[in-house]
């Protein structure tokens, strides 16, 4: 039983990481109707930026304080992601206003490839460390309930807390602010929003910047846990099934979808995996998404898709 | 209005059709019939449910209540392919042409039901499939001649003017050799000459081929001129049904819909 709970927690925690990446997807889709294939690449790019700035800035400015280095690196990375958002809007999105979804999806695929290459050209392609001061030692809890207690990663708990805070802030943003409402209008119909005076270009820059910020947070946490390397963008691809499960337009859906996928993966690997020779983690999430697509395409919390003639 | 045709029996019977989308009731308890070889118009103000009615008849929408009989077979929900095979074709208000294809190819798709060669024969092409393509091409060229769009046959439809696109839409429907043709606002957006051409086509179809025609139209002059009977809808309900002259004088119709002759 203890082992089951540990696996469960482990799954919840890795699911939380998927959720963070999925959050970026949902934001962009909700606000601009674009399915951003490049979210994973953005996570990688942001993480690389932060990792390298963390190294370079102390050298450049000549100080030693880790906390300050982290803060400055984070800030610099945020600026970089805003610049990225601006460039994507200017060079890519602006010219594809009101094209079909397929075209936009493939454009983001192109952006994804570009960012992956560019990130490694700018920042290097080794494995880098991010150290944001999260405690690495695991803690043992509930020693009296289970023999030996449960091993839980403190880092994961912090990550969960940060993610929760982020979700809360974003939900407030969408529901309560004028910008949030404008974003929802844009997601519905680009041209209509444009025609009532919503500045499409600026809105898109805001959205992609926010998504870039979320990508940075995800990248920082994930990089702190696993190290920053190219495979980060591949793991991020798994966020796609997460948004399918949760619903493309739902922020809570991204969280819950991520948790379900994280837990599902871990549990299925341990309990069903051995029957099939193991390694089913690579496809479990996708097949689950496939099942959902056949049964309930809008996901758990998404809006029903109506096809009008 | 051609008077020397014989108007036959009821070929399409719409009974108590009700249709809603979410909370919006598009059609309430609509019943009317269409007789063979006649030209039946459906008129009414915008939003009256005319297009929705047409969509129910050819299986695009599924009404919640009621039934439709076509050639003696009753359907709760019309199956698009089945009714197409039984000889029902339509044009669309918003055209719905296949933008990526030429005029010729668009009309050829209308011949699809008649094409019998399987995948392998088509892949080889030489022999049966080539003969079939040429035979169908011949039929399509007759339609192109009828609609006078020969110079445009290889042009991608996206490049044509609206009036010409409407003709291609009609051509595609005609390619199905329908016995019943549903026309959704065939004259919308046309100038006087184009309307005259289109009216001529419709009358010729009815005269030469005996095609039964159900059309939605706003232009009162056209409706009065060419139709045999008229159904009037307003807010999803039927408020008039009869010969054009009767309907024109009906007080309900007049108050709901001030018909103007363009």
């Amino acid at each position: 039983m203890g082992f089951f709970l540990e696996t469960l927690f482990g799954g919840l925690m890795s699911g939380m990481l998927y959720s963070l990446v999925a959050l970026g997807f949902v934001l962009i889709y909700k606000a601009s109707g674009v399915f951003n294939f490049a979210q994973g690449a953005m996570v990688l790019f942001a993480a690389l930026a932060m990792a390298r700035f963390y190294e370079w800035i102390p050298h450049l400015l000549g100080f030693d304080n880790k906390v300050l280095a982290n803060l400055l690196a984070f800030g610099a990375a945020v600026l970089v992601m805003i610049a990225v958002a601006w460039l994507i809007e200017r060079l890519c999105l602006r010219h594809l206003v009101n094209q079909e979804h397929i075209t936009l999806l493939m454009a983001t695929l192109g952006v994804s490839y570009f960012l992956e290459g560019f990130g490694q050209v700018l920042f290097g392609s080794d494995i880098y460390k991010i150290d944001i001061g999260m405690p690495k030692d695991p803690v043992i809890v509930l020693e009296r309930v289970f023999q030996g207690g449960l091993l839980i990663n403190q880092e994961d708990l912090y990550a969960a807390a940060i993610a929760a805070a982020l979700v809360f802030a974003l939900t407030l943003f969408f529901q309560k602010t004028a910008t949030g409402r404008a974003l929802r209008a844009v997601a519905d119909d680009h041209q209509a929003a444009q025609s009532i005076g919503i500045p499409l270009g600026r809105i898109w820059i805001i959205v992609w910047s926010v998504a870039g910020f979320v990508a940075l947070v995800a990248g920082a946490i994930w990089g702190s846990k696993l190290g920053v390397q190219f495979s980060l963008s591949l793991v991020a691809l798994k966020a796609l099934p997460v948004v399918i499960l949760g619903g493309l337009t739902s922020v809570p859906g991204a969280i819950i979808g991520g948790l379900i996928i994280g837990v599902g993966e871990k549990l299925s690997e341990i309990y069903i995996g051995p029957m099939f020779g193991g390694g089913i983690e690579i496809w479990f999430a996708y097949v689950l998404a496939l099942v959902f697509l056949l049964v309930r395409p809008q996901g758990l919390f998404g809006e029903k898709i109506i096809d009008r003639v | 209005m051609a008077t020397d045709r014989k108007i036959g029996d009821v070929v399409l019977d719409v009974r108590n059709i009700s249709l809603s989308f979410g909370g919006v009731k598009a059609l309430s308890d609509i019943s009317f019939d269409v007789r063979e070889h006649e030209i039946r118009a459906i008129i009414g103000p915008n939003g009256a449910g005319k297009s929705s009615m047409l969509n129910c008849i050819n299986g695009v929408y599924m009404p919640q209540e009621g039934a439709i009989s076509f050639r003696g077979r009753t359907f709760m929900h019309m199956n698009s392919r089945q009714v197409a095979e039984m000889g029902l074709a339509r044009t669309f208000q918003n055209l719905a042409l296949f933008k990526g294809m030429s005029v010729l190819d668009n009309i050829m798709t209308g011949r699809n039901l008649k094409m019998k060669c399987n995948l392998f024969q088509q892949a080889i092409r030489w022999g049966a499939a080539e003969r079939e393509e040429c035979a169908q091409r011949e039929q399509v060229e007759r339609i192109i001649d009828f609609l006078e769009i020969q110079p445009y046959r290889k042009t991608p439809v996206g490049r044509l003017s609206y009036g010409l696109q409407k003709r291609v839409d009609l051509g595609r429907a005609l390619a199905m050799e329908p016995s019943l043709l549903l026309l959704d606002e065939p004259m919308a957006g046309m100038n006087v000459e184009e309307k005259q051409d289109m009216s001529r086509f419709i009358l010729d179809l009815n005269d030469e081929f005996g095609t039964t025609i159900v059309l939605i139209e706003h232009d009162m002059g056209v409706v009065m001129d060419i139709s045999d009977r008229v159904v009037v809808l307003d807010y999803g309900r039927k408020i008039g049904d009869g010969a054009p002259d009767e309907v024109r004088l009906d007080p309900d119709v007049i108050s709901a819909y001030l018909g103007t002759t363009h």
Partner: protein
């Protein structure tokens, strides 16, 4: 001046409907095929044949298959690598387990297996479209990645999923030299291109395009979306499967599942986008582009005397691919094929401006 249709009047529909209605085109294609079959094998270096032309031919075939699904029928697929893998491993199994199995039959049977799975994964397309379908095809991709790695039966009990094929021969003629491999692949490509072109300009091709352009209107005309979509998946996966079998047997000789991973899927999709969606020619352009570009990028710095390490040029390749995708989608969504046909139209008028 040279490229004019003057005097070329068609008096039968058959003549009007041919694949190359303009005489100059027919001559050009004839010469081109002659050169491809007779001249190239004699003149090209082993390196050119082995490393550039053979991959180009096989990937063109795969791109052709994918184009039918994505370009003509409008169903997006990110799992093409999976279908190549199925073709390759299935052909391998037929060859290894059935003694005396002829190579050609094994390759075609590999394609047939790919067709069966393709139709299965096409079933979701009846209910979902666009980006949702893309995720469903990803399921196919990752599932087959795993299946060929872990399910021993598929790989004749190889622990890492890697297999290799013995020497190839057709009717007793050994296919061992690069020139013969090139000719085999060229023959496959020409035959399949012809069959594909016939399908695409026939009734089923119009059905596919109708579904792509407006599936509701297609249903009203009497086109069955189920039949159209599933045949698109079937034909596409057959061609992709055969291409996969060729890739494994002829180009690689021995392979493991990673040869058909998601990068391959994206690579093929890029070929279709850049080359031109909904165009047979486009598949060739796209494949040529994507095969040749990394070679040029590798060689270019050396021509200028710069030393660029391979990692950097790999990254630059990614950047250039990505940028080109976006460029083509913005400027010419119909890809290089449209640029080519626009060029030909201008050539018809040359030297007059219009």
């Amino acid at each position: 001046m040279l490229y004019r249709e003057n005097g070329q009047f068609k008096s039968t529909y058959r003549a009007d409907q041919q694949i190359f209605p303009i005489l100059q085109d027919r001559i050009a294609i004839g010469l081109f095929l002659f050169a491809a079959f007779a001249v190239v094998p004699m003149l090209a270096s082993e390196y050119l044949l082995r490393a550039i032309l053979v991959p180009f031919l096989i990937l063109s075939l795969a791109a052709l298959g994918l184009n039918i699904l994505v370009g003509y029928c409008g169903q997006i697929s990110l799992g093409t690598g999976a279908f190549m893998a199925i073709g390759a491993y299935a052909a391998y199994n037929f060859e290894v387990r059935i003694p005396g199995m002829p190579l050609l039959v094994a390759l075609l049977l590999g394609g047939a297996c790919s067709t069966a799975v393709g139709v299965l994964f096409g079933i979701p397309s009846l209910r979902i479209k666009g980006l949702y379908l893309a995720v469903a095809t990803l399921a196919a991709q990752f599932f087959t990645d795993w299946a060929f790695l872990r399910i021993r039966w598929f790989t004749n009990d190889s622990s890492s999923g890697s297999v290799s094929v013995a020497s190839l021969d057709i009717f007793g003629l050994a296919i061992d030299s690069p020139a013969r491999k090139y000719l085999l692949c060229l023959a496959f490509l020409v035959v399949f291109a012809l069959l594909a072109k016939n399908l695409v300009r026939g009734a089923i091709g119009r059905e596919w395009m109708a579904i792509r352009d407006m599936d509701v209107a297609a249903a009203v005309i009497g086109i069955r979306p189920v039949y159209a979509k599933l045949t698109a998946f079937a034909v596409s996966s057959f061609i992709v499967g055969v291409a996969g079998a060729l890739w494994g047997f002829v180009h690689l000789g021995s392979w493991e599942p990673a040869a058909f991973n998601i990068d391959r899927s994206f690579q093929l999709l890029f070929m279709v986008i850049i080359g031109g969606m909904g165009s047979i020619m486009g598949s060739f352009f796209g494949a040529a582009f994507i095969v040749v570009l990394p070679v040029i990028l590798d060689a270019l710095p050396r021509w200028f005397g710069l030393n660029v390490d391979t990692a950097l040029s790999a990254h630059l390749t990614y950047m250039i691919f990505g940028a080109l995708i976006v460029f083509f989608l913005i400027v010419e969504p119909h890809g290089m094929a449209r640029l080519w046909s626009t060029g030909k139209e201008k050539l018809r008028l040359w030297p007059f401006p219009h």
